[in-house]
């Protein structure tokens, strides 16, 4: 950056009109940085560490895209967004993509005009209750006080669920996870509901996790995935296929450990096409031939990302479940690289 940022912003403001017409891919390349929208902090998915370095499952996707486009997983500017600001930030071009546990819904896709490029985590809304309540199903929660994190689709699902089952409840909307946790532990609500992954992550931090159970009901489908603006299909393709590359890599057994030898060429033509030693997939996307290799090297393939950030060996301890590869009975499925 040549000019100082504030000065540039002030003087060029009037002249910048029209400059944004070029494709997002070109913008990102010209800028040398990817602006990626993330949450302001969600355990396991995105959080800054003591040095200000972002880490997490969603952050991994951002880094992979940055590596694929710019060859450098560090060339990402993380823009923290709230439930309110995320869509405006994306629509106004402040961020190039949003990787912020955002549920893919019809109205967000069609009405708000965003393109969801895929799903990186299949979640669903669940319930957590203290074991001592002796509740074994969400249908037994008549009259219970329920803590909900607001600003998401959660409160809508909850209202629908209780309404359709004709049971009453008392909603306690809460702004942040920290407060929800505190209220739940103090007994100010009987039940805590949010995405099942969030519940598991929250329970893991309790002093006595075994005193709390997750109820079997998952009352909603929450396919969480990265999204981009409508109308820039080329950029959408880049993000979509970067995500698919991570998924395919796991399916084909390409990991950050063995990618060096794999990229030299293997007997599996799809691996070769993926890693750029055969065909010209990268060129078709407008990227370099080793785009997918860079993306996978950034923080590993899909499975590695999962294990490192939210998997069973982390304090969060999520099982793969629905997020296993389709070959293992899960829903994670990438179209072929051909």
């Amino acid at each position: 950056m040549k000019k100082s940022v504030i000065f540039g912003a002030l003087t060029v403001a009037g002249l910048a009109a029209g400059a944004a017409a070029a494709g997002t891919l070109d913008d990102v390349k010209a800028r040398g940085k990817l602006n990626c929208g993330v949450t302001t902090g969600l355990v396991g998915f995105a959080a800054p560490d003591a040095n200000g370095e972002w880490g997490g499952f969603d952050v991994g996707v951002c880094r992979a895209v940055a590596a694929a486009v710019l060859g450098d997983p560090k060339a990402v500017e993380f823009v923290p967004t709230t439930g309110k600001t995320r869509f405006t930030a994306l629509a106004s071009g402040e961020i190039d993509m949003l990787a912020r546990n955002t549920t893919w819904t019809f109205s967000r896709d069609v009405d708000l005009k965003f393109t969801f490029v895929g799903v990186n985590y299949y979640d669903g809304q669940g319930f957590m209750v203290p074991k001592e309540l002796g509740v074994s199903s969400a249908k037994e929660l008549d009259g219970a006080t329920v803590c909900i994190q607001t600003g998401t689709t959660t409160e809508l699902n909850l209202a629908d669920f209780f309404r359709s089952n004709n049971i009453s409840y008392e909603p306690v909307p809460i702004e942040t996870n920290a407060e929800a946790q505190q209220q739940y532990l103090a007994g100010a609500c009987d039940v805590y509901t949010t995405d099942a992954s969030g519940l598991a992550a929250t329970r893991a931090t309790f002093e006595d996790p075994s005193a709390h159970v997750l109820l079997p009901e998952i009352i909603s489908k929450e396919p969480l995935g990265p999204l981009v603006r409508h109308g820039d299909d080329n950029w959408g393709d880049v993000v979509r296929w970067t995500l698919n590359a991570l998924i395919t890599a796991e399916e084909l057994g390409v990991s950050s450990a063995n990618i060096g030898e794999m990229s030299a060429g293997t007997n599996n033509p799809e691996v070769n096409r993926l890693l750029g030693s055969e065909g010209n997939l990268g060129e078709m996307l407008g990227l370099s031939a080793d785009w997918a290799k860079n993306a996978i090297m950034a923080s590993g393939n899909y499975g590695e990302l999962f294990e490192k950030n939210i998997g069973e060996n982390t304090p969060i301890g999520l099982a793969r479940g629905l997020n296993a590869q389709w070959t293992d009975g899960g829903l994670i499925y990438s179209p072929p690289f051909r």
Partner: protein, 422 residues
């Protein structure tokens, strides 16, 4: 010899618009107006262009769609099938509720603390100083969050009331339950209820007025009116005959007999809260979110009001206190009858802006999950519909309306108090 002649009548020249002070003000105003209109047009044009690019023309249709979320603390009926407009209206009522409660409490606490800061008791004065400094110098957002956290941590959960030997018990003859979900108090019920009037039909602004409450109000007002009548008659008799007839038993009867009769006819009884299942049921439930917000806002604002009150009292000359002492008034009466009424004139104008601040600060309710208008219209509705422009503008409009009404009422009151000045 020169004679005095009329100054030459200058014909109007264009440069006079600038150099002649008679016309210059017109020029400046015209330029200001033009500039303002240009700016407004520019902003409007930009907005319309941008909205067209985004494909989101201004449309208030979303207000008529079902809101699909629930609101716990509400004075009017509402369910998740009601419209966004209804949800916003409920939020607006909630904002007003907390603002009114907060202003009243803040005034009481503020005056008390302001007076106690001047107390002769060293310890009390110091504690009040610590209180004022603590609240004035830490952001109100933190206080709201902390108030909620303290309530939740220090009060018993409903499950503590369960069992044969519960850790917590209900207070006041087993009628009030104080839990970390809120306070449950007995609610007035009527077995022969008169029903209620439904104003505005089925629209989003519908408003139920309980006829029972109206009846009670009418009887109460009538009784008070009658009592005043009796009292003034007694005064009249006293003036003419010199003997004041006994009226207190008549007054008592007028005040209580019709009311008791009415309550008996309506079948008045109290509904007590009771622990059933997960929660207390029955009774009126005042949620913790409201209590925390109310407490934090009123304590925060009270710290400022205390300073104003203290300043106001100190502004009254010491001679007033001495004169009151000379008349033999006790310190409490001196304060109540002599100092405070005079201090009021100094106190009220800054008080208005503190009431306004409290109302505006109530928009931080989302921090504790109290569904005020920022939480409904500016929160979930905005998130779910993606209509930022419409929502934010409506939100601002609502607050502007509230603020202007408060300043109008308070300015009117101020004018009334100021009239006393001699």
């Amino acid at each position: 010899m020169t004679t005095l002649t009329d100054p030459p009548k200058a014909s109007f020249r264009l440069s006079m618009l600038i150099y002649d002070t008679r016309y210059r003000s017109l020029t400046i105003q015209a330029v200001a107006m033009l500039g303002f209109m240009l700016l407004a047009a520019w902003l409007l044009n930009n907005t319309l262009t941008n909205l067209a690019t985004l494909g989101k023309p201004i449309d208030l249709g979303f207000l008529g769609e079902p809101a699909s979320y629930d609101i716990n603390q509400r004075l009017l009926d509402y369910n998740s099938r009601d419209t966004h407009l209804r949800a916003s209206f409920i939020g607006l009522i909630n904002t007003l509720v907390v603002a009114v409660l907060g202003c009243i409490t803040a005034t009481i606490v503020g005056v008390l603390v302001g007076v106690l800061r001047l107390s002769k008791n060293w310890l009390v004065a110091r504690i009040m100083t610590v209180y004022v400094e603590m609240f004035r110098n830490v952001p109100v957002l933190l206080w709201i969050v902390l108030a909620m956290a303290i309530l939740i941590e220090s009060l018993p959960a409903p499950r503590a009331f369960r069992g044969d030997n519960p850790e917590a018990t209900m207070k006041v003859f087993d009628s009030v339950a104080i839990t970390n979900r809120g306070v449950y108090v007995p609610e007035p019920l009527f077995s022969n209820s008169l029903g209620s009037i439904h104003l505005f039909g089925d629209s989003s602004l519908r408003f139920d007025v309980s006829l029972d409450l109206m009846a009670i109000l009418v009887v109460l007002i009538a009784s008070i009116f009658a009592v005043r009548k009796v009292t003034s008659r007694a005064a009249h008799i006293q003036e003419t005959t010199g003997v004041r007839p006994k009226t207190w038993h008549v007054n008592l009867a007028i005040l209580f007999v019709p009311m008791i009769a009415l309550l008996a006819v309506l079948g008045f009884h109290l509904g007590y809260p009771e622990l059933k299942g997960f929660n207390f049921t029955g009774g009126t439930h005042m949620r913790n979110s409201l209590i925390a917000l109310w407490l934090a806002l009123s304590l925060y604002t009270a710290a400022f009001i205390a300073e104003i009150v203290r300043g106001g009292i100190l502004a009254i000359s010491h001679g007033q206190t001495e004169a009151a002492n000379a008349l033999g008034l006790r310190p409490g009466k001196t304060m109540r009858l002599v100092i405070l009424p005079q201090a009021l004139r100094v106190i009220i104008p800054p008080m208005i802006s503190n009431y306004l601040n409290l109302t505006k600060n109530s928009s931080l309710a989302i921090a504790v999950g109290y569904m005020d208008i920022t939480g409904t219209l500016g929160g979930i509705t905005m998130n779910q519909t993606g209509r930022e422009l419409e929502c934010v503008l409506m939100l601002m409009g609502c607050y502007l309306l509230i603020s202007l009404s408060i300043s109008m009422v308070m300015n009117w009151y101020n004018a009334r108090v100021a009239l006393v000045e001699r």
